[in-house]
Point group: C2
Chain length 220, copies 2
C-alpha cells in the first residue's frame, strides 16, 4: 500500500530527476516540489526507503529504484489519461484539468485505468501533447522541435508544450495556438526573438520568445 502522499513524493523525485537525466535528487529540491519543509522530506525518504521504492543514503541524495520508477510511470499514465478524459469527453479546457487529474491519479485500480484507456481509444498523447505511457510503461516518441527553431518559410503542426502552467496555456488559447493547429513562420526578429507567424492559415500574429521557446511543432 502506497499512500497518496507517498505517491506525491515519488512523482516529485521522478519529475526532478527527469530534468537532469538519472541524477541524484536533493532534499531541498523535493521540499520545494511538494511544498513542504526539508525536514519532512527527510522523514518521508526514510519511509520510502523501508518500503523499497527509492535508493537513498543520508546526505547523498535520492534516486527512484526500478519499483519506484514503475510507480511514477503508472502515476503519469493515470494523470494523463484522466486529463484526456476531462478534455475529450467532459469538455474541460486544457488549462483547467491539471488539479483535477492530480486528485484522480490517486484512485487505486488498474482495471479502471485500463478500461479508461480503452474507452478513450488508447491515446498516445494527452491534451498537452505529452506522451501517455501504455500498460507496459512504454512512451511513444515523436520528432518535434520548438517553434523557435523553425526557419522563415517553414511550417509545422503544434504537437506539444514545454511549459504547463495554467496561465501560459490560457494565453496560448487566446492566440488560437492549440494542439493540431498549424504555424508558419513569416519573419523572425533577432532583436527580441519575436516571430511573425500565421496560425492555421488564418491571420498573422506576432509571438514573443516565451511562446516560441515553449511550443513544440512537428515540421511539415
Amino acid at each position: 500500500m502506497i499512500s497518496a502522499t507517498e505517491e506525491d513524493y515519488i512523482k516529485a523525485i521522478f519529475n526532478i530527476s527527469r530534468k537532469i537525466k538519472n541524477a541524484m535528487v536533493g532534499t531541498n529540491q523535493i521540499a520545494k516540489e511538494v511544498n513542504t519543509s526539508p525536514a519532512s522530506v527527510t522523514d518521508m525518504l526514510k519511509k520510502l526507503k523501508t518500503k523499497d521504492l527509492i535508493q537513498y543514503e543520508k546526505y547523498k541524495g535520492v534516486k527512484l529504484n526500478p519499483t519506484g520508477t514503475k510507480r511514477a510511470v503508472l502515476l503519469l499514465r493515470r494523470h494523463r489519461l484522466w486529463e484526456s478524459f476531462l478534455v475529450e469527453k467532459l469538455g474541460f479546457g486544457w488549462d483547467e484539468v491539471h488539479d483535477l487529474a492530480e486528485q484522480l491519479e490517486h484512485i487505486e485500480s488498474d482495471e479502471l485505468i485500463n478500461k479508461l484507456d480503452d474507452y478513450l481509444g488508447n491515446p498516445k498523447f494527452d491534451p498537452h501533447g505529452d506522451p501517455i505511457p501504455d500498460v507496459q510503461g512504454i512512451f511513444t516518441l515523436r520528432n518535434q522541435q520548438l517553434v523557435q527553431h523553425l526557419s522563415v518559410g517553414e511550417s509545422g503542426i503544434v504537437v506539444g508544450v514545454k511549459k504547463h502552467d495554467k496561465d501560459f496555456l490560457h494565453h496560448l488559447s487566446q492566440f488560437k495556438i492549440e494542439i493540431g493547429k498549424s504555424i508558419s513562420v513569416l519573419e523572425k526578429f533577432a532583436y527580441d526573438n519575436s516571430i511573425s507567424v500565421k496560425i492555421d492559415g488564418q491571420k498573422d500574429i506576432m509571438i514573443g520568445a516565451i511562446i516560441s521557446e515553449n511550443v513544440f511543432v512537428k515540421k511539415l
Copy 2:
C-alpha cells in the same frame, strides 16, 4: 474543508438514519457502519459538531443538520453518477462498481460532477436503479414494488434492488435478472415463498424469497 474520512462518517449517519426516518443515530451503529471502534466515533462526532455538520449531545445520539444532510446528498449524487459512468461508459458490471465509486466520490469538484452528469445525459437512476439526486439535491420518485407483492399473472419491469452487496447482484445477473428485464409471475408457493417466473419472455425459472424480497419492479 471536509476530509474523506469525515465524509465517510457523514455518509454512515445518513445511511443509518434513512432506514428509520429521521431517527437519532447511535455511536455503536456508526462504528459498525464505518468499521471502527465506538471510541473513534465519539472523537469524530465531536469534530463534526465543531464543523457544524451534525446535531449532537453526548449520550443522546446524532443527527445530520441541514448542512450535513446537503453534503450527504452530494456524496450520494457523486457516488451514483460515478457508478453510472463506470457501467455505462467503461463497461463494468453493476456488481463491480461500488468500491471504485467509494473512492471517486471523494474527488472534490462541483464542476467535474456536473459535467459528468451532463455527459451521461443527466440520468435519473443509477445502474442499481437508485435515484440520482440532481444539482439541487432532488430525487426522482418512482412507483415500484417488490416482486414478492406481484400476484400470479401480473408482470413488471425490473427497476431496482433492495440489497446492494456484490454477491447478491452477481447472483441476479446469473439469473439474467437485471434492470430493464421483465418478470411475469407464473405461480407462487406459500410453503417457502418461492415463485415461478418468466424472465424477459424467455425461460421460466424458480426464484427464492431472497430474490423476490429484494428486487423492485414497476408493474405493467
